[in-house]
């Protein structure tokens, strides 16, 4: 059997090791470790893990997410956070006073919110909460989606990539852990920032990403 190298691309069912320890993205049958995803291999000593190329968002407690209001009820809002399960925002879990029965005065259909997943029920539906000063309604409606396995590339080492996008476009950029990216700022800056997000989503395997995104942002800003 050939030895699996670091950063090698594997398909589901590939035999990774015959007596190793399976990490994330792998499953074991007896002593054999197999890949579970189409993704890249990471080898640490004896431990092998696979990080998928694409993945779906499954909510966990403590995730900070960006969601869209899709339902207004008398006591709660229904929120779309791009997960396969139903998500609610209760009228008591917001950082402003509400009056029951008039919830659309505060958050109407289609509004964007930044919130935290704070409870997962046994049936997998989730509750989000806006308590806390850093959560709330988002004013601009310009959002883009990025696959959640590519968020680390968008943020970069110690936030280098996201800070560069913020500086060069003069925009605020907020990344939810569910893969929704919200931007606010001058009109041309927003377009440039969203173009950069799209570029990273499509070309995330590139080597010197910071340099190509810098070039992209300079070009886009020159044209707008």
């Amino acid at each position: 059997m050939t030895e699996i190298k670091n950063y090698e691309i594997v398909t589901p069912g590939t035999l990774l090791s015959e007596n190793g320890e399976g990490g994330e993205g792998t499953y074991t049958e007896g002593k054999k470790v197999f890949s579970k995803f189409l993704g890249t291999v990471q080898v640490y000593d004896n431990r092998i893990s696979v990080s998928p190329m694409t993945s779906s968002y499954i909510p966990h407690e403590g995730d900070n997410v960006i969601g869209r209001i899709i339902e207004v009820s008398t006591k709660y809002w229904g929120v779309d956070i791009d997960a396969p399960y139903y998500t609610r925002l209760d009228s008591r879990d917001v950082n402003f006073r509400t009056e029951i029965g008039e919830l659309d005065k505060y958050l109407a259909l289609g509004d964007l919110i930044y919130a935290r997943v704070f409870r997962i029920y046994a049936n997998n539906s989730a509750d989000v909460s806006m308590r806390g000063s850093n959560f709330g309604k988002l004013e601009s409606n310009r959002v883009s989606k990025i696959n959640i396995s590519r968020i680390p590339r968008l943020i970069g080492k110690e936030g280098s990539m996201i800070n560069m996008i913020k500086e060069m476009t003069g925009c605020e950029v907020l990344v939810g852990q569910n893969g929704v990216v919200w931007v606010n700022g001058p009109e041309d800056g927003k377009a440039a920032a969203l173009a950069a997000v799209k570029f990273i989503d499509e070309n995330y395997m590139n080597q010197n990403m910071v340099e190509s995104v810098r070039r992209l942002l300079e070009n886009v800003r020159g044209k707008v």
Partner: protein, 235 residues
């Protein structure tokens, strides 16, 4: 007697194959698989909320698969929509994928798989299953293995791999068609149907030949799925 195949292939040779992934931007994952004149495209959506609700399972997700032959795929126009044959094939593809995809990771959710046959020349259920499994891998679903499916069979007295429509309709001696779905690295059969008449000993020879053919399809699937990402890094 059937001594030489109509298209001059060897008895254990597959028709020329071609595959591609990521062809449908709106789908989570998609793939196109062509073998000879048979071509299938598959799209995977989800996981999403289960609808209708009573299909929901509390401990695992479900796969909803629909197979459809497009009207222009066969010489006589195929009536659009699901007929009894389409429903049967949808079911066998769902059963095969249930074994390949690790559904326990998405409880109470649904994965939608749509497969369309754009050209049919026998072996459509195998081409569809191969395309569907590639689309599932492209969508980033956790899987035990990729499914490689191929039809094998007996024409006259000879055992053949990957039958065409012309061969399936062979009259002298009759033709038997055995579609096989295979998880190559698990050595596990997930689809086995038989249409015709064979002895027990012949059937095991047909299955052995089908497994060898499936291995070639598996190699193609792997190289296409890996190649998509290494090409992106070059551009």
């Amino acid at each position: 007697m059937y001594e030489e195949r109509f298209d001059k292939r060897g008895f254990d040779e597959l028709r020329p194959m071609e595959a591609e992934t990521g062809i449908i931007p709106n789908a989570k994952g998609s793939a196109r698989f062509r073998i000879g004149n048979t071509e299938a495209i598959a799209a995977v959506y989800g996981p999403e909320e289960v609808k209708p609700k009573h299909f929901e399972k509390v401990d695992k997700g479900i796969i909803m698969c629909k197979y459809d032959m497009l009207p222009f795929s066969v010489p006589d126009r195929a009536k659009p929509g699901m007929d009894r044959r389409d429903m049967e094939i949808s079911d066998v593809i769902t059963n095969a994928l249930n074994r390949a995809v690790i559904l326990e990771e998405f409880p109470r959710s649904m994965i939608t798989v749509r497969v369309y046959v754009t050209q049919a020349d026998a072996g459509t259920r195998c081409a569809s299953l191969t395309a569907a499994s590639m689309a599932c891998a492209d969508a980033g679903l956790p899987m035990r293995d990729l499914v490689a499916a191929v039809a094998a069979g007996k024409i006259g007295d000879s055992i053949c791999l990957d039958l065409t429509k012309e061969e399936e309709d062979f009259h002298e001696g009759g033709a038997t068609d055995v579609p096989i779905g295979f998880l190559p690295s698990k050595n596990e059969i997930v689809l086995l149907q038989l249409d015709g008449k064979v002895t027990k000993e012949e059937l095991s020879r047909i299955v052995e030949m089908g497994k060898l053919g499936a291995m070639k399809i598996y190699e193609l699937e792997k190289s296409v799925l890996q190649g998509r990402f290494s090409n992106e890094s070059k551009s």
